[in-house]
Assembly symmetry: C2
């Protein structure tokens, strides 16, 4: 259909002023009086709405005046400038056609609805201002991430979702099966007979594509994943979802410094992209969702990220132990309260914390010469805490095997991973960015359920 | 690390000629003689390799001469032009450092390996010429698709992977569960007790994001998905995988013509992008994988796609029924042999087939005024057959309910989908592109296992 979008009107209004155009959209509000009325429509192509003025010269004037919020209409009319009004222009309607009515029980009336309520109608909530903004920005962030990596010739790799292995031994995975749950087949000795399952063995949903993508870094040098990941964690918090998206870049011939450089560049690139491409949405968040948002993001763009070792961070935090629920000491994992204190109070900007005790980090991280810490890095940002976790990987075959044995991991299960250390190993590093955390960080939204189109959490898999 | 990439050398060699540079990469081949040798390395950043010449003035000359294929090295030296040689330049080495050795049993020796063998080492095969080309092109296609939609302000929507519904009633889905398979809990009446499962109900892996994304089209007008999809189909063919990626655009205020326009534009855009950004890889495919590839793709770029109704197509095909294993007649589904005959023999270019009998298409497709056919469209391309399937959607509440009842679908299960016809319905249309089929089409690769980094098929979930 040849409809002019509202986005196009805002971009090039001069081309359309005083001309007859046709637009389509959904009614956000309608005010009618005896001989004329105003309709505000959103056509979903941009955050701004469009006002349509109609008069009783329309054949269907009475019908139009009774249209409900949510109705889809097609309006033909003349675009006229409105220098006195809030909006820069409006349409003087010549005809208004109803494309699809909106039943009287339409759940999105003009009043403000709570986020909790809107979660119960996840198929309709993108029609509200807040979720228009959230999900357009989510889309832009996703694209900006691709653009950042592709401009630097990183190869995008689709790592598998269904997996026979349990990366990081993270536990709490979803099983994938085609066995009949009401009648699970058994082997002679009473075990589940996985030979009858689709893949002839137990399989799970992935918790990370990292181990797989390392193999691709050893072929393409610079690679990244961007795909869904799953955790069957029984955590009913505002920050946990059972299904979320992750970005995991991996670079060969690269160390922890290269890793931090890439991560800092990425966050700044994405922030700049969103500020450039969704200014109205970002202003909306700043005004209605999170008052300090724009200042915080501009502050990030303008500053060099801090860098501190875990050991130094602990020394600093110990001086403030009276402020924490969990007291810190060398060897403990950092809690969100510590992370936020570091980045919000001490650094007042994003900060990289490096070189954590090996005991609290994954087996594949490179052992430092002190034999106590590993070349890990977390990036902490104000308002969130940890947003990125990464490391230089252990590239030495013998050290990796030794660490796996210490941790009771089977060399056979990881033989493909060990191969990468056997055939042309190089120093290499990478990190994981939780995509939803990134969206929360850039929008100021505080519940992960409100930045995922159809969120999956404990006991919740609607629609 | 400050290494110059081979891609950068090929792009701006003039900047580096006769200068001292450092490169890193993996040895593809090594020829040594008494006092000097040649090493060909790939650094993974581009298809081309780089030749390094070294002499016995190196401290580690003997060590270097014995390096195995696959070894990771860092070489410092001077880039010199080689106007007489096949390659435009080479490096005269000043030093060569071994970053990681390659064990003698390195599985990728210089000889040619079969694709079947390479599938058994999916973590190493991206180091070969063919898979370097395939997976770089796969990455470029993915990005080109995003770029195509984002340039037109389509909103990228992540539809859920874990789902409580069975879109299209496609059957053959993977179940997702955290129940203990060796001891499945039961309710009092002996049924599986899903209240103890993670989501408190049975859940599956999605077969399509379409129904969900339609809700977003009704908010943003133009949207698309790009994510994994799953089929637990017991098909051990060269075209079926259990896990694959799909692209599903959906447009509000759009009909079947808009749909075809979008699909044709997308395919041409992606082909042009890949020809522009991976000329060496595409030449390689044309030379070694599929001889007619480039001609075919250029032909697509230069031609307007054909358009024919199903009824017309059947009339044409019936004249050639002697050539088919399955004879066609009105009402039958088109098999790959028919699709390929249409596009390869009759049209000699891509063709859209529209308006299929409602009986062989999904419940949500818009009923045509003839009450016999629906506004469906398949795009058929030479060498593949169907690459895109789409439709205008039934936007009339009553007609949709009637069709669902005919097909025995529960209105309750689809109440969210029916809501979209109740509150501001508009004509809308969309399609699905199987991403792997698209990669096969653009590379000439004939087995889907060879265009997925870690393929999942019946009985196969390695790595």
């Amino acid at each position: 259909m040849d409809l002019i979008t509202v986005r196009e009107l805002y971009k090039h209004s001069e081309e359309y002023l005083d001309k007859e155009i046709t637009v389509g959209g959904w009614i956000r509000s309608l005010r009618d009086s005896k001989s004329f009325g105003f309709i505000v429509v959103s056509d979903g192509t941009c955050f701004q709405t469009l006002q349509i003025v109609y008069h009783d010269n329309l054949d269907n004037f009475t019908e139009v005046s009774r249209l409900n919020v949510g109705t889809a209409i097609i309006a033909k009319g003349t675009l006229v400038a409105t220098p006195e009004a809030k909006q820069p222009f409006e349409i003087q309607a010549l005809s208004i056609t109803v494309e699809g009515a909106s039943a009287p029980d339409y759940p999105l009336q003009k009043k403000r609805h709570s986020f909790e309520y809107l979660r119960t109608i996840s198929h309709l909530r993108p029609r509200t201002n807040t979720f228009q903004a959230v999900f357009r920005v989510r889309s832009l962030i996703a694209y900006a991430i691709h653009q950042y990596f592709q401009e630097q010739d990183f190869v995008y790799v689709h790592t598998p979702l269904i997996t026979g292995s349990d990366c990081e031994g993270a536990g709490e995975m979803f099983q994938v099966t085609t066995l009949d749950l009401s009648n699970v087949p058994r082997t002679a000795d009473g075990q589940v007979d996985f030979s009858q399952d689709f893949f002839s063995k137990p399989t799970n949903l992935t918790v990370s594509g990292q181990l797989n993508v390392e193999g691709y870094a050893m072929a393409f040098r610079n690679v990244y994943t961007f795909g869904p990941t799953f955790r069957a964690e029984n955590s009913n918090t505002a920050r946990h979802a059972a299904e979320f998206w992750m970005i995991e870049p991996e670079m060969a011939f690269a160390d922890l410094n290269d890793n931090m450089h890439l991560a800092e560049g990425m966050l700044k690139y994405v922030i700049q992209y969103v500020l450039d491409h969704a200014p109205e949405e970002m202003n909306f968040f700043n005004q209605f969702v999170d008052k300090g948002l724009l200042d915080r993001l501009h502050n990030v763009l303008g500053s060099e990220f801090g860098r501190i070792t875990y050991t130094e961070a602990i020394a600093l935090l110990e001086q403030h132990n009276n402020k924490f629920d969990y007291k810190v000491s060398w060897g403990c994992d950092l809690q969100t309260e510590h992370e936020r204190f570091l980045t919000e109070q001490l650094f007042k900007k994003p900060v990289f914390v490096t070189d954590y005790p090996k005991e609290i980090k994954a087996f594949y991280m490179k052992l430092n010469p002190d034999n106590k810490t590993v070349a890990a890095v977390d990036c902490l940002v104000p308002g969130i805490g940890e947003i990125i976790g990464g490391s230089q990987r252990e590239d030495d075959y013998d050290k990796l095997v030794a660490r796996m044995r210490e941790m009771g991991l089977s060399e056979e299960d990881y033989s493909f991973y060990l191969d990468l250390r056997k055939y042309g190993s190089t120093r290499h590093a990478g990190f994981g960015l939780g995509f939803e955390r990134c969206v929360m960080y850039l929008t100021g939204m505080s519940n992960i359920r409100d930045v995922i189109p159809f969120p999956r959490t404990v006991n919740n898999c609607d629609l």
